[in-house]
Symmetry: C2
Subunit: 178 residues, 2 copies
DNA sequence: CGAACGATGTATCGCGGCGATATAATCACC
DNA sequence: GGTGATTATATCGCCGCGATACATCGTTCG
């Protein structure tokens, strides 16, 4: 997840940790929080895996005054890895975050893959919706008001996501026809 | 989180792990998934902390055929701990799950505390809403369609949650007046 | 009859992510 | 010249998850 997002951002330009976190927040803050406690360890992991490298000092004299910062850039292996992650959807569970990251990089994703990701997401959200409906009728009247309220809220937001996904898919199709 | 939910469930009756997980799923599945990979370690932790104890074999002969199961029950310390967790809201961030658990146990929560929890939640969701609005206007037109769509979706669901919380709070107040 | 399957049941392992925290330099402002 | 916000990197321990393993029971189907 983190790995996916970082590789995607570094695809735009080389960056250092702090900057990555800000971009992450702007790009994906609407659906997920990102902490430094994951950022730096993930960067180290990516570095050890050879997916990113620390850029040389470069411009050591120019604009001095900035304090120590480590700028990372993608390696060819990193680009390859990102392409892999882009192409296949993550684990198909309703609480998996990777869909959001996919969406954030959709403008760089081929149309057929976009469609596959969207439909995969829709399928798993629909499954969850059915599960919730079934549970709501099963547990019926025997649960207290607050729990039922929680269920209603969960079901409604799931239904809304399905509708949203349908719109996205429809838009995708109309674009394809044109 | 897990700890909170487990203590709450064991408040109803002594139970074993598998049963707890099923109840968890019925009660809170609408907003959160629960895995065994957390359940059993959490039970051990609670046991080590003296908040729960393994019930004696009890009825060893009756209804035999059932296979090995460990039934846990609350200790006085466990009840105390649960009361503490009930009374004060968890970390006030929009992605904190503990609100859902609180809600699930609302029927056992005093009215004034219910109100405090609801208002705390509303405050932090409203803050997030403002942050998202600000970011949407700031990043304005310079972001691609898909990312904007993600933002819109995040903002809308936040707004819906605020409305929902307002309803819950209003209902709470009307009940108090009566 | 037995095989196969799905539910019941307990448990662990490694890893990914988080909150808290430490450290430090720079900048803006009064 | 001090105070606080912002920029910047980093680690620690804990929590929760997915995968996996294993054993028993009831049912169903060939």
């Amino acid at each position: 997840m983190f790995e996916f997002a970082l590789l995607g951002l570094l695809h735009e330009a080389p960056m250092h940790g702090y900057e990555l976190r800000k971009r992450l927040h702007d790009l994906l803050g609407a659906f997920r929080a990102f902490s430094y406690g994951s950022l730096y360890p993930t960067l180290r992991r990516l570095q050890r895996a050879g997916l990113i490298v620390e850029e040389g000092p470069e411009e050591p004299a120019l604009s001095w005054g900035r304090r120590a910062r480590k700028v990372y850039k993608l390696t060819p292996e990193g680009k390859e890895r990102f392409a892999d992650l882009l192409a296949n959807a993550g684990p198909q569970t309703w609480d998996d975050d990777s869909f959001g990251v996919h969406l954030a990089f959709f403008s760089r994703t081929p149309a057929d893959i976009r469609m596959r990701i969207l439909e995969g997401r829709r399928r798993c959200v629909e499954e969850r919706r059915e599960g919730l409906r079934e549970r709501l009728t099963r547990t019926g009247e025997q649960i207290d008001r607050y729990t039922r309220e929680l269920h209603r809220q969960g079901l409604e937001s799931t239904e809304r996501e399905v509708r949203w996904l349908n719109e996205l898919i429809a838009h995708e199709q109309s674009e394809q026809d044109e």
